[in-house]
Amino acid sequence: MSEKRKYKKRYCKYCEAKVDFMDYKDVGALRFSLSERYKIMPRRLTGNCKRHQDMIATVIKRARAAALVPYTVTRKQVVTAPFENLR
């Protein structure tokens, strides 16, 4: 442990907000756990706890089936940070 910790300690934002239930129709709330290509962000990056990660995963999959959130985003459709992947 001589090296410094690279990232600061992560905490679960959903635990902090005491989320008990997530609605798949509320797309804005899902945005936090989605990458810019609408992949589900891994727990090691978001810091979600296991319980809330499981919840968000099922909710995102429901939203995908309901065509509220895309399954895949091709290179042309990426909008939020268009030059991110060219670096």
């Binding site: 239930f21 609605d23 995908r64 089936a65 309901a66 065509a67 895309p70 399954y71």
Partner: protein, 135 residues
Amino acid sequence: MRNYENLVIVKPTFTAEEIQASIKAVEEIITSNGGEIAATNAMGMKKLAYPIEKNERGYYYVIYYTVVPSAISEIERRFRINEDLLRFVTIKYDTNREITAWNQLVQKAQKASEPAKEEAPVKEEEAPATEAAAE
């Protein structure tokens, strides 16, 4: 009896009356199989995240209802036959936590639909304009 929620996407090529008629048909399917509709929520015409059957948009409609679990397979079978629907999503609310969430969602939907019911005759003309503004 168990609590369920069904999201239905109706084809965008229909006129407003045809959409209302097909939604009536959907509700008819649920009630004829012994379901009790608790609340409905019209999310309106929305852009789909990806094209379904070459359609870019769709009319979203959510129905909250309670029904005997064995009736769900029949309801879903009828939905699959129905060609007016692009997509349907059935969600089961089973655990205590989910049921309280379901009650909250129903109350929310009822509050949203109550003022709309009073001005129901005017609504048909108003609806497209307000939906366009919301988008």
